[in-house]
Subunit: 430 residues, 4 copies
């Protein structure tokens, strides 16, 4: 089985280098989308049957052949490769190979334009669901450890300077709340793009009463993307929306990894990473390096780069342009690599061991100064005045201890009143 270019006249001239440039890595990228392209093709066939463009028998034959192809793809027996121009051609070639003229009917009423739109829309929805799940997974570990580690003392920093006494629980709870919001953001993005573009053809619809309500329902979309012109306008935009949701989660991974990178230094010494999370040096036999943490920190760059790449491409008038093909590679690369990183986070967090002694030893008397200043203010000394009094007499703080400071930190959400129930409650939202 092989395929001619769909649009090629017999005997027209082509050129090797140009064809290679046009093809790019498209066929390889389409491996990601192929299962969704097949799924959407099945819905399209059912829709064609409902408006009598294909007969019930033809529809059944096409559906069976598509189901078979889906199985072959899933089993790894069908490989999309350079024999085909892209995934769409592969599907049509498969059908024609098996069903002859009937196979040639599958493309009636659609264009490669709405075909790739619907396949990538379905793929995006799946990836955003993954993103939400992975964020919730991280949040779960954080919240559990917050619940268990209220008495583990940790210095609280601002400007990397020791500021006040804090706790491991407080640090965990912060990331828990962050990842819950990141999951919510993924859901928002999913809802925003949950619209069916199948049936918009090349951006102008077709002269057939396509049953778009049926394909919308069959493919599990929340609604129809009504206007074909809009379906084209949304190319790249919806992809950016997904990457924006991903990048929010990775911003927190970056800060988390930064924390751990510092905490794993000899100078801080707050965490010791299990050996499985570290690597050695090729020249320095004495080293164990937190490479995984560093690569997690760096992963944000992949998503930032992908967004920059896509938004450069979108400086176009309306209507389809081949430029838009170049949104596919950065999209798939960023989601693949971003989700891969997020998938490691829950285990890393679960494996993390604190060096309680080092953390406790990092508490200095001056870190009670704010406590005292607020106490004075509570007792009627204007805060600015209290601030100056304490600043001039940091010596009087020696008698205090971390546990007392934490217990008194009772503003809602702070270490003395963590309100984990409120965070847990948001965890339960869809």
């Amino acid at each position: 089985m092989s395929t001619n270019l769909l649009w090629q006249s017999t005997g027209s001239s082509t050129d090797e280098a140009i064809m290679r440039f046009l093809a790019g890595e498209d066929v390889v990228l389409d491996r990601e989308l192929l299962p969704f392209d097949i799924e959407a093709s099945r819905a399209h066939v059912a829709g064609l049957a409902r408006i009598d463009i294909v007969s019930a028998d033809e529809a059944a034959a096409l559906d069976a052949a598509l189901a078979e192809l889906a199985g072959e793809v899933e089993a790894g027996r069908f490989l999309l490769d350079a024999r085909f121009e892209d995934g769409h051609s592969a599907i049509e070639a498969w059908l024609t190979d098996r069903l002859g003229d009937i196979g040639r009917k599958v493309h009636t009423g659609r264009s490669r334009n709405d075909q790739v739109l619907v396949a990538s829309r379905l793929w995006l929805k799946a990836r955003l669901a993954d993103l939400a799940g992975l964020c919730r997974g991280s949040a779960r570990v954080c919240l559990d450890r917050a619940g268990a580690e209220a008495d583990i003392v940790m210095p609280g920093y601002t400007h990397l300077q020791r500021a006040v006494v804090s706790s491991a629980a407080h640090w965990w709870a912060g990331y828990a709340e962050a990842f819950i919001d990141n999951a919510w953001r993924a859901r928002q993005a999913l809802e925003w793009i949950d619209a069916n573009p199948l049936g918009t053809a090349a951006g102008y619809g077709v002269n057939l009463p396509l049953d778009r309500e049926h394909t919308t329902q069959a493919l599990g979309f929340a609604r129809m993307q009504v206007n074909p012109h809009y379906a084209q306008l949304s190319r790249g935009k919806f992809e950016l929306a997904a990457l924006e949701a991903l990048s929010q989660a990775l911003l927190d991974v970056r800060r988390l990894a930064w924390d751990l990178s510092l905490f794993a230094s000899a100078e801080f010494g707050f965490v010791e990473l299990p050996e499985v999370w570290t690597t050695g040096s090729s020249i320095m036999p004495n080293k164990r390096n937190p490479d995984v943490v560093e690569l997690l920190r760096a992963r944000y760059g992949v998503v930032a780069g992908a967004r920059a790449e896509i938004e450069q491409v979108l400086a176009l008038p309306s209507g389809y342009h081949r430029d838009l093909q170049f949104t596919k590679a950065p999209l798939i690369r960023a989601l693949h690599q971003g989700l891969e990183a997020l998938a490691l986070v829950p285990r890393l967090l679960a494996d993390l061991g604190w060096n309680r002694e080092r953390m406790a030893a990092a508490i200095e008397p001056s870190m009670y100064a704010t406590d005292l200043a607020v106490e004075l203010a509570r007792d009627g000394v204007p805060f600015r005045e209290a601030y100056r009094q304490v600043k001039d007499a940091l010596g009087g703080l020696a008698g205090r201890d971390p546990a007392g400071s934490l217990a008194a930190r009772i503003s809602p959400g702070a270490a003395g009143d963590l309100r984990l129930d409120l965070i847990e409650q948001r965890m339960r939202l869809p």
Copy 2:
């Protein structure tokens, strides 16, 4: 009235150039935030009264003084300038100037950290509401014109090549649906950040039972941002979320402006912009240039730049760092300039006049080829076969006309069945 630096010891050394570097343009930027800072300060004072940190009389005095300041600011009689380190200092200076020691109590239990967080959160919410409103304004014009212009023929392009017959209504409806989604996106962003950070102090809370439920309600937040560590983690992130929503809308403005820039060329000649939307040339007396359209097209860059600026800054460990101050300027700049551009769009769209003759004259017989191919397919010729038949005999299309082609374009959403009711329905959503 003037102000010392809040944290300055008497007699400590400062340096002109360094102080200027530290101050940057902060005081000027704080003019944007000042009304919201005052509003949040009033809520904070009420909260302090509820936990007896200030008496009812003191609270009343502070509230009255803050209300007076708000009035002065609104009337343009109080100007934030280089007399003050920032807006926070200005508020405290105002209160101390009027109320002496009582004024000094306003900062009890808060830090400039949560103070700027809450003020900028309120400001962001207001801007996102503006964004939603402006997007709906554009959508309204588009939808109305879509309803009125179903019979205005317009060539449909892909790759800037004439492809099929289309209509002005179809073009308008696409942008209508786009701007409705952009408004929804602004709402999503608003909901996502609608959490109160006031009461988280410098990222670790305080040793006071602050009534955060009260301030949350008083300031109209949907919920409390529970964990103080998270409040810090969200700095920059929430700002990015707002800019992402803005940039989605400006992506559509960019494509719209690109369309108009092309349509206004002599070669297309589809629109003539009213003179008020054009300017002349300093050397070429014959020119009228669509400068407004071009500047609208370019505005996206401001937002893309601001996002790049902020995300560079966010490569930090957790906890506050002064780096984060640099998120303020790009945020305010991008929202100000982005909303300014969006505010012009509805009028521009309403003013737009079509040159129907030029648009109709751009329809060529070959643009009916797809219609014919689909007709053949509908009649049982496999689509690939139909495609080849039509391709080999483009000549047989001469008898067709645009109106017939549009009327037959009946796939849901297309020019023959625009489904404006479905779009209108989504317009009515909150």
Copy 3:
């Protein structure tokens, strides 16, 4: 032949998912660098021999084995794949496999840090030389056509509005000068990074009197990168410098492709691209689309994305961090794809055919207005006054013709005095 991780203790624990995350696509990327890594290894061995760390016999054996490996790699018989951690490990495994303990000496006095630095530096130099060559290739075509097409009339646009009469030669000469400057920029970047990092080990040098002058000369570097700390600081920075040079060239490709995309539209109709440069549509039999031009236009995004990706990673303290590994993929991707695009440009430009009739037909009388205004000014009417006179009487321009306008455009560099000799002269610079 297989390889253990260089830094692995016997029996230490590893984890499949973590190892995969650490490895990433590194081994595949190293295929690009491997020939340069071998070349630098040979220089390193020679250097070790010069300070008696390896004997002359050992050096000869190592050099022969490395030469053999280079041959195998070039012939495609040695494939870097997942058997190896990276290219460095593969080289050492090859040598140890052939030479036993002698092979194990190759890593003396170096780290994978300076090893990858020197290999990628050599690779970068080769790519920048390619870039310069490709830019000169485009400039050559442009300059030749500028020389031949002085009498082909083309409308000159500003704001996409017809402004004045111009010529194809003038358009070509502009791109010629641009690509000459782009070639120069590539040379500047090449010179800037032309410094040898080999011998700086992991950023702190080693306790051996390495003969860095020898390796510098042997590898063809212009100078030594002196300080080992600086060698680390330059990671990512030098890569960015190369991408910046590349992006300057692609900015001109983008504008060129934009011109051609417009010129190829039915509305402009100035060029007809040979069929080999266009593709068909899967649904519209009537279409020939300028896909190659559109993909050339979009290519800039790949480089912009790669730069954004790398600069996100570089937010680090000094010293090596594993984050820096993530500069490799975007670097190689962007240079590969950017150079691939540039390689197509000269042929595309050579193939370009003008539709002289359409271009001539686009000249309107009002496009002589500036000519007349300047004539009046030359004759003593103040320019502002002349401008107003002409503006009020555009009618008096009917008698003029394009050839006359072009001939009179004699400011140096303009269509009437192209000064191609000056551009040609800069073409001859190194």
Copy 4:
């Protein structure tokens, strides 16, 4: 004195909001460019006199009036504000106000297009010279301290893990070499853009034999930018080239600031910043924060953002478009803020005090492991074998001391053989 819009017909309609949108902040930005615009106007007048467009007397009068304006601007007595559309209009208004019709002749043979190009080119050249100078200033301090601090022990880190013994001198020398290269880069960019665009009018030249050789020489340009089309193509591109040079320098500032931020933490404790470089906290009386260092670290974002902003705008066909006006604000902002940051660096570096005890105390015996491994390798043990031996017996390193380790680090450029003369030599290059 006031001004009408140059291109405005009497009685034509304008609109307040649109005019404000068109004007933007242009007039304020033009304050930066005005002195250069005046300088270029004087050269243009002299050029017009040489081709007899203005008489010698007229030229003298125009030159005197321009010189007077330059003096007024420099003295701060002439302020560019909203009375004027832009700087160009202000100059013409000034001349017309003083010289009547003669003033109106200044614009003969030029467009606002080449006028703003030449003014911003001259401004850019001045800023790049500043950049080179500031980089050399930082390099000077670094090199001097490297020369003085060879015996100050500092731990050498990779992955933020203690790796080997190093020295302050080694750290300084790294930044010295980096800033020398950054100065060179600034010079390269300056040379690349050192071409005169004056005389290219609106991108198509004019029908006058302008003496461009004269203006090129008079304005101190290295060469003429020959082709008018190219002058337009270079808009934005040359600006990006300048920002790329700036961003290279700021990448090193960012890493330097990161180092100092870590070194200033209690955990590292390597530096104590003089009080003038730190600030206090509004809530925590115990804190001194390294705010200046943090803002220096964050400054890179401004340049990255400006570049992203400009490159978004440049997605255009050739010829001038109003979009390009939006390159001005990010350019000026980034250079102003970037140079401001760089201007602080030399003093900060000179003020830096080391805490030698803390640095020495951070040296652990295992940090000699690499020394020992290399010694074994030098004595004939294959390096991989030596690595394993040392790794298994880190205990045997106790007798070593930092001074011995540094003295033995004799690979060229390393702490035992710093080769500062080589770095100093490159300092002397232009």
